[in-house]
Every structure is written in C-alpha cells, then in structure tokens.
Amino acid sequence: MPPTSKALRQLIAVLYLHGIRTWRYKYSFINSSLNTMLWITIFLLGVIMFVPEHELPVVAPQVFWGIALWNLISYTVIYVSGWTTWFLVTTGLVEEHLLHGLSVPMLLAGRLVTVIAEAAIATPLVYLVLRGVAGPMKLVDNPLLLVYGLATAEAMALGYALLLATLALRLSIPGPMLDITNFILFIVGGIAAPVARLPGPLRTVALLTPYSHAAELIRYAATGAKPYLGTWSEILISGALGAALLLTAHAVYKLVESKHLRRYGVRGVGRM
C-alpha cells in the first residue's frame, strides 16, 4: 500500500475511533463540557467585578476571546498529554501501535475531535452568560481571520501537547504535571489581554510566547483591536510558529521512539 494511502486510512481510523469514543462516553463528554463552561463562568464573573460598567462593552469581548482561546489551548494540552499516561500507556496501546507500524502522535492528535466538540458546546454557553451580565456585544468582525488565528493557536497547542506527551513517555510523569507554564502564560503571555495593554517587560515576554501572535490575530478578527506587530506580520509569524512546533514535536517523538521506546519499552503500567 502506498504511504499516502496508509496515512489517509489511519487518519480516517483515528477520527472514527475518537468520534465513536466520544459518543460512547457521551455523558462524560456532556458533563465535561458543562464543567468547562461553569468554571470559565465563575472566573469570568469574578473578572467582570473589576471592570467599571461603562468599559464593559469594550472589555467583555476581549475577555471572552482570551478565555475561549485559553480553554482551547489548555484542554488540548490536558486531553492529549494527560490521555497518554492515564489511558494510552496504562492500557498498553503504545506497544500495540508500534508493533503494527502505526503513528502514536496521529492517534494522540485525534483527541482534538473531543477538544473541538467540547469547545463548540462550552464556548456559546459562556457567551450567553457573559451577554446576560455585559449586554449584547459584537464577537466577530473578520470570520476568516478568526478561524486562521484559532487554527494556528490550536496547531501550536497540539505541538506543545505532543512534546509533553513524548516527555511523559520518556519520563513516566503525566504530561499535564509537566505543564507548569499554563497559568502563567495566560496572564503574561499575551493570551488574556492585548499585548499593547501589558506593562513593558511583560510585553517582551508576551512577544516571545508563540500563542500571543495567534491571540493578537483573534482579537483583531473579533474586535478590530490592531495587532501589536501589524496584521500581516502576525499572520506570517503565527503560521510559521504553528508549523514549527508541530514539526519539532514530530521530530522529538521519532527520536524518543527510536532511541528509547523501541529499545527499553514503555514504562508506567498501572495507575500509580
């Protein structure tokens, strides 16, 4: 079978697997979506208390997209890297895939089916709550750019999640526990607030954080707030960073697979 055809068949199988798995555990899935929405709402209402009422129409969409993006990013990391240790390794599926010559990263990337489906349920619900508090607001100005921004942010998150998953396979430590940057980057990494709003040194940190470039595009596409480095620069930087992170993750996994997994096997059978 030609390699392209094999990869395509595997992609279809992976999508089918994650689709059917989400359906099989539908109550867990619905519960998880509600869980996400409720936690976000708790924080959102808390943040709104800091904002003077006359500034709400401007600030509310920015807060909404910041939190929606962070939700997408952090759930990608949790669902991909966490699932590696808590499910894939425990059930012995890594060895099974290696023996059949199938791609473990592709199997892990399939978790995006669940992540995206969950975001599709939770995000509109969060909007409804926010609208109830802040009143009606315009959320999308340029849909195409918004999709591009979200897609590049998701590519970066997936690349990072696959790197953590690979480290988890090598070190036997659950991926999310290795993710110490999640909360800090949300605030100082230009995800929560526009880069221009951050104080001097944090602005530099934000510009060095890959997610900030996608976030700037999303805010521009949603509210018209001009990106700090200009629209075209941010389009190019986001796309390049998304691709670079995915390629790096793939290369690191291949290295760990050949130098470690195929030689010494997968550690971490059992829950503890």
Binding site: L38, F43, L45, G46, V47, I48, F50, V51, M177
Partner: protein, 269 residues
Amino acid sequence: MPSSFLDVVAAEFYAFTRFYKNNRAMMVAAFIWPYLMVLILLGLGYLFGSPKQYAERMGVSNPVFFIISASTVAMSSTFILDDVANYTLYNRWNGTLPYILLTPMRLPKQLLAASLPSTLVSPAISVSSALPAALYFEGLRGAGIIAGLYAVIVLGMLPLAGLAVLIAGLVLTAKEETNIASSITPFLLLVSGVFYPVTVLPRALQLVAAAVPVKYVVDIARAMASTGSATHRVFTAIYALTLLAFAYNALAAPLLGAVEKRVKRYAPY
C-alpha cells in the same frame, strides 16, 4: 471479627495519607492551586480593571485577601462531592470495588468513611497553603480568619455528605469512564457567588443559591473580610448551614438504601 465504622475510617485515613506520600507531586500541586486561581483572577482583574472597583462592589477591605480566602473555599468546600464519586471509580479501575461491595458494612457507611479523610485533610492542605499569604496581607488577624475558615468549610461539608453518597451511586451505575456528575461541583460554586455577589446571577439561580451550603461558607468568608461588623452575618450563615445539614441528610437517608440495592445489582465491576 466484624469491622467497626471507626476501623474503616482509620483504614481510609491510612490509604489517603499513603496516596499523598507516594504522590508528592500531587501534594505540591494541592499547595500551589489556590495561588494559581488567585493569579488568574487578579491578573485579569488588574489588566482589565481595578482592584478598587472590585473592593467597592464586594464590600471587602482587601480584595487580594478576600480572593485568597474565596479560592481556599472554592478549592476545598466541595471536595466531598468529587472525592466520594472518584473513590468508587478509582476502586473500579483498580479492580478492588467488588471487595468493597462484598464487605459486611453497608455501602453508604463505607462511602461515608471513605469521604472523611478527604473532607478533613484536603481543606487543611488548602488552608495551610493560604496561611503565608494571609499572614503577609493581614498579619495575625488574617491567619486567624483563614484558620477559622477551616472549621466553617468542614461545617459546610456536613449537608453535602448524603448528596455525595447518592452521586457516588449514580456514577457507579452510569457505566462511564469518568465522574459524570463532576459538573455539580462548579455549579454549586457558581450559584454560591464565590468571587462575585450572587445578585449578578439570574433570579432563578439566586433562588437555587439559598439552598446551597457552599453559599453560606462563602458568605462567612466575605463577612470576615468585609469592612463592617460581621458577627450577625457569620451567625446567620452558621445557623443556615446547621439547618441544611439536617434537612439534606434527612432527605438523603431514605434514598441511600435504594441506591445501595441498585449499585449491587447493576454496578459494573
């Protein structure tokens, strides 16, 4: 020799402490989590608005200290709901659930015993993690308030005990991979107005809040951090918590037998 309830509680305490001993990273995470919640809320608050605005709306003197107290409540006051449900799932994954169900002790009592270590120890971890910040911002008064919060949080758990056992039964019979009722925890926190006044919520949710024990725990935390006199508000909340403890457990008691029967008949091992 049949085991007494206290024997089972002691065994559960042993298992709980061993778990933390073998998972030190979990222990560290439990200490750090309240600060992460504070970081997010304050970070966003400072970026988009001002803490003065927050203090005025919430009627508290020190918003940072109040958010630390509220995060401690948020982290620990609903442990009982999650931990009892996760206890059953965890034992199912490990294959030890059949042994638990076969012990002579009634299942609700067993689940209650299993919930006690987490109910007492988890809030203690959250409170200890908040102590340094409380000392820094409010001195000894702050440390006293945080220590007092521990007692209030434990009191707030009592009304939830029966509900927790019912949820654990539901989770076991649902045949799913995770705790399908885990969204109850953030829902209770949402209607309790943990970081905001409940008046911002729709009217229906405000009515629900009146029957949620966590709301009264949050009320006490807010009263303790408020600018005015707090005694009346604290005693009203304690009174409400005591009433709810009796009401909820009296309502849950007749259902527990039915839950046990259903679990033993349908629970997948």
